[in-house]
Amino acid sequence: MAEAAVQVDHVTKRFRLYSERNQSLKAAALKLRRARFEEFTALDDVSFDVPEGSTFGLVGANGSGKSTLLKCIARILLPNSGTILTQGTVASLLELGSGFHPELTGRENVYLNASIMRIPRREIDARFPAIVEFAGIGKFIDEPVRMYSSGMYVRLGFAVATHLDPDILLIDEVIAVGDAEFQDRCLEKFAEFRRRGRTVIVASHALGLVESLCDEVKRLDHGRLVEVDDSPGPDQPLPEESPGTDTASIVTGLDVLDRHGFCVTDVRTGEPVTLRLHYETPAPIERPVLSLELHTPTGVCAFSQHSRDADLVPRVLLGSGSVDLSIPRLALQAGLYEVRAAVLDDSLRTVHAARSFGFRLRVSNDSLSESVGLAVLGGRWGNPMQDQTAGGLHDEHEDGTAGGSGSEVRA
């Protein structure tokens, strides 16, 4: 058993929620007290160990406390009680471009961030070319970072954090940003990190991606740690399930089929695809509504459809079987898509089963005519057509006649 790189021991973090914030002496003097506030417990007695060399995932909905926890580990926030022990250097990538100063150039920011991590200058000199190379920002490295696009910001941030070679790397949602190619390079970098025995902690609300990366996943729910099945398979129930139902056993599997009905993992943009849901239910489910959703790694829902909207409500679902959702032309941009499925009742109020299949759909796109965005719409540009009226007015001016008179008559 490896030594723990990070030990989180009964950590509780409370925030003050101010009903009316007064951040001024004037207001404080007038009211003779600081603002009244309510306490909000963001982390409630959280304890866990992250073994050295492991990749650890923290999942949870927005506001579940995962970012707070990362910030506590990064020493940005101090817990109200409990202790955190970290062994080794820690680098954190929290939100876009951690700690960049907008007025400074990329180069200066790299050195600044390095010195924050107490890495001597000569070491950075040696690693500098690799950082620029990985970030792929070329000559922009000598421009102030306020000129950077958000993509460049993220790439440089990731490049710096990973190339400074920390013992522990904390990442919050960031890999989800950037294009598919950069995501691939990030995943590669993670693998390299692992091989070198570094510890990585990733927080995300996209369970599927985290799970495919991590040795161990813990889920945070309203500041409390909830156990997630320790055997990391791609199929995990989503947190939105209704209590009391043995949900995982209803939607039992998912197949991605190409036009010939073969199981595939990769689909090209514009090709037909069929998503086949397998179900098994010992108790009859009356008038079930099936739902399928495709989510990007950033958590954006790219597609969602209920079978009820498509006028399919079977009378009853019983035993085992499968349901197909056929998509004639997959109009999605290249990338990884998380597939989520659910079985609801026909009022859509009760969820019989809901689960994520992880990032099971991988879309690739050969066409370069549309390479950014979420959808590939097959757009076509026409030739420029000069506006007739504008041209006509111009002519009239040249003739020396009053420009407006013609249109007035027409009006």
Binding site: I76, I84, L85, Q87, S92, H101, E103
Partner: protein, 291 residues
């Protein structure tokens, strides 16, 4: 691990006093301090036509204005420097005004530095004092340039410059730097909680300037209040009065300062630093939340 000493960090709820580990940590971030200072110096004047020239223009303009108003219109007549024999209102004014401006920028900019660097504080950990210290150090660099120019001017005007006095001057500069930094530490954390403190500070600094014998000779106050009066004693408690008078002694008059006064200044500086450090440590933990 194979012989490599790894940094083990225990993160626990904020305590009031960081202890020696806090200072050790600050010392370990020397390089960061250097980089932050450089950043401060670079970003302050980047994108302005005069660049670094601005930092010199401000004191020169103030000197010119005060010189015209106080020597030509209000007829302030400081005593001839003894033993240096200097007789120049501008040089006399500069020896006191430059240190005061240095002090006032350290406090003003240091106070706003945490709020100004919220972006950095909320995203990465490093000893937060480094930001205040770097801002103050950047001011120190500018001040050292100004004061070197002043020394050259004093030398050209005919005063003898002695290495012993230069050494004491440097010591006083260090004291003034620490005094200003201590106040900046206090101000910077308070400013995070009360954002309008910055406006108040501008007023305080203006009042402080006039409560200090910078633009008028201390002899005028002594004559008005009486040298042994309680009023004059209270007036002299102002550490800035001590600093300005000591700088005048050293640079303008060309003599050693009153060492009892220097001792008093050192004591006040030590007190301010300790209060600043303790207050900063106590509130440091909640900075990322409050910003």
């Amino acid at each position: 691990m194979t012989g490599i000493r790894r940094t083990v960090v225990t993160i626990h709820p904020a305590g009031p006093w960081g202890g020696p580990s806090a200072l050790r940590e600050l010392l370990a971030s020397r390089e960061l301090l250097g980089n932050l200072t450089l950043r401060e110096l670079r970003s302050k004047y980047r994108g302005t036509a005069l660049g670094q020239g601005w930092s010199l223009l401000h004191p020169i303009a103030l000197l010119a204005i005060y010189a015209v108003v106080f020597s030509q219109i209000l007829r302030v007549r400081p005593a001839v420097g003894s033993p240096s024999g200097l007789h120049s209102f501008v040089l006399w004014l500069a020896t006191g005004l430059l240190p005061f401006l240095f002090f006032s920028t350290v406090v003003t900019q240091g106070m706003g530095s945490l709020v100004g660097n919220a972006n950095l504080i909320k995203k990465v950990y490093f000893p937060r004092e480094a930001i205040v210290l770097a801002t103050a150090t950047a001011c120190l660099v500018t001040f050292l340039i100004e004061y070197t120019v002043l020394h050259v001017a004093v030398g050209l005007a005919g005063a003898a410059i002695s290495p012993a006095r230069l050494l004491v001057t440097l010591l006083l500069v260090a004291l003034l730097f620490l005094f200003g930094t201590g106040l900046a530490l206090i101000g910077s954390v308070l400013n995070v909680f009360f954002r309008d403190l910055q406006h108040l500070l501008t007023l305080v600094m203006m009042a402080w300037l006039y409560a200090t014998p910078v633009i008028y000779p201390i002899a005028l106050v002594r004559a008005e209040l009486g040298a042994d009066s309680t009023g004059f004693e209270i007036y002299s408690m102002n550490p800035m009065a001590g600093f300005v008078e000591s700088f005048r002694d050293l640079v303008y008059d060309g003599r050693m300062p009153d060492f009892l006064m220097v001792g008093y200044l050192a004591l006040v500086t030590a007190m301010v630093l300790v209060i600043g450090h303790v207050l900063f440590r106590a509130l440091e933990g909640s900075l990322a939340e409050e910003l």
